[in-house]
Every structure is written in C-alpha cells, then in structure tokens.
Symmetry: C2
Subunit: 221 residues, 2 copies
Amino acid sequence: MSQALALYGYWRSSAAYRVRIALNLKGLAYESRPVHLVRNGGEQHQPDYQALNPQELVPCLVDRGQVFTQSMAIMEYLEETHPLPPLLPADAAGRARVRALTQLLACDVHPLGNLRVLQYLGSTFQADDAMRGEWSRHWISEGFRALETMLAGNVATGRFCHGDEPTLADACLVPQHYNAVRWKLPMGDFPTIGRIVDACQALDAFRQAAPEAQADAPPPG
Amino acid sequence: MSQALALYGYWRSSAAYRVRIALNLKGLAYESRPVHLVRNGGEQHQPDYQALNPQELVPCLVDRGQVFTQSMAIMEYLEETHPLPPLLPADAAGRARVRALTQLLACDVHPLGNLRVLQYLGSTFQADDAMRGEWSRHWISEGFRALETMLAGNVATGRFCHGDEPTLADACLVPQHYNAVRWKLPMGDFPTIGRIVDACQALDAFRQAAPEAQADAPPPG
C-alpha cells in the first residue's frame, strides 16, 4: 500500500536525517525515496528532482501530493499536522529556546559543512581533504562550544536538550554530532552534548533514522 | 520610560535587520542596543555580551528580562506572543511554504556570507576582497535562482512572497537583497524578487528598519 508521506533524502544528509528522526518520533510511516547526491553528477541536479525542489537539495517531503522543502520547515509542518507527541514545548519561551538551539545548528553550523560548500572550496580555493576537514571542524567546534554553554548553563536542559522528552533540538543535534564524529572532532570539551546524544541513541526513533540504517547506505566494510 | 523589549543588534547585520522588520510590522516599540561588530575587536566577543549570547552573534532580544537568540526563533516568538498582524499564514501548508522561503535564505544563503566566515576565508585561504566578493555573490546567486523559481512559479505568491500581506519571508528577503546590492550582484535574473522587494520598501515598517536608518549607522558621505 502506498504511504501518504514520501521523503526524498540521502542516507548521509544531515538535513534528511533530522526529518527521519522527527517522522520516527511521531510514529509516522513514510516511503523512502533515495536521491544519490554524488552518483551521476548528483541526482539532485536532475530535472525530475529539480522540479520538486528548485534548490536541488535534500530533503523534500511529499504529503498527499503537496511538496515541502527545507528540513526545519518540514519538521514544523509535521508538528502542526501531527501534534502528538509534541516536539516543541508548550510555552512560548520554551519553544523559542528549542528553535534557537535548532537554528544554531541548522543555520550557523550545518550549511558551512554542506557538500556543495566543500566542493566549492575545492574548486575555488584548491582546498584539499585536509583543509576541508579543518574548515568543517572549525565551524562545528564554534557551534558546539556555544551550544555546550547554552545547554550546560540552563536549568531547562534535562535528559534531552530541553526537558526529559526529545524535541526538534535533539533531532538536529544527533545528525550534527554524527557529522562531527565523521570529521574526527574531539568531543571532550562537549560533555553535555555527548550525554544528550547518548540519551537520544538509546531510542529506536533515533537509531532507525541513522545513516547506516537506510536502504541506500553502502554495505558495511 | 523603559521598553519591555530591547534588541541588541548592528545596523548592517542582516539577521538584526530581519527582526527590526518583524518588530515594526507588529507595531512593537523596542529599545535599540547597538553592538559594534568591528570596533574594539568586535563588541560581540566582550564578556557582557557573551553572557547574553554564547554564540557571540547578533541579534539578541530581551523581553522583560528573558533573553532570546537566533533571528528566526525570535521572530517565531514574536508571532506567538503578539499574533496580530500575523506574519505567517493560517494554514499549515502555507506556513510551511513561508518557513521554507525563510530557511532558504537564513540557512543556505546568509550564513555563508556572514562576517565571521569572510574573516575566516581571509585568514585561512588568504582570500582578498575580490575573492570574498565572488564567494558572496556565488551563494546569494545560487539562493536567489532557486527562490526566484519558487516565487515566480507558485500561485501563492502575491504582492509579497506569500499573498498580499508581508510575512516572515519578506522580512528575510529584504535584508538579503540589501546584502546582494552591497556585493553588486546583478539582479536582472530575479525580477520577481525585485518586484517584491519594491513592494516591501513602500512600507514604513521596512524603511524604518533599514540599516542606514539606525542610530548606530555611520553618517552618510
């Protein structure tokens, strides 16, 4: 039977990974439609996909024929159309805090390490793998330093980024942490982040959203 | 008399400019607290400001003693606490569209041209002014190309980005357009964007939020 929801994504895309976590936390079944970001010059640049998302980026969610782009906008849409379990707190100040934590990651960390940016650094500044690694670690480290302070120094932080239930902030944090590990960023300075990521990874919703658990991930080894 | 709301910003910061537009559209008075991003090695790095915002970025809104960071989170907070006039549509799909337009700009365009990124390009890749200009124009152009398609090809686009009243998408678009002009990006390929920016600039709320209208802007000439 076809699902109401279909997610165009890529196993290792942080932004798609976020949306998978949110879908899983809400218990929403969806059809997975992989878009290979590297093969064939990048399937996201092919006309069929470009027609869905003129930005030629993943993810993209289709809900009964309507197309939605931008991971944060998609997650807010899921929150409004499927309110339970909530992934934002009930109070305006709490919601603002969770959104600030998500935006810190989604605006000020993730886009700087995106594939298209790393490719452009290579072509324009002749950045090799080592330089791209240094660039990526720099921006993740800048973001995590501020995030660690904001999490460790606030009584609203609980088992998760905000209280004792996962929110959109955790859905953004875990993919960014995955990316940090991939770039071999030392995590010793970020104990609160590490503790919260561990709490998330104890949940099926997070584990089943992991890049390596996706059908389009390459076989291990 | 002291205002309930105080905004820490910088005249030329796109993110602060967005929040000024939203405050003006909602008719909310606020105290302006300039943070000079260049002088004294960057006032945003001083301990007093760092205590407010560990990211050491502007803007930062204080509402009766509570501190809020991240421009998009601040604007959603203003929308929730001061719902009229609305800056998001009433329907979930429309809200998702407006949020996707804002996130296209706030995640995939603006952070790449941010001061700290340009400074890092200079120190790490010896990028001079010309190279920083090319970098900035490239990412604005990529974003505007997609945005133009999303605006021109959708019946939901009206006088403004979504319908005939300004939304959060317009509050993000005008500062990004200001930045594009500053970097001398030719705007001929983006007629819908240009038309919407003109419609915005006809409104006092946008004009009074302009960088040059701020008390901390340098005198003209």
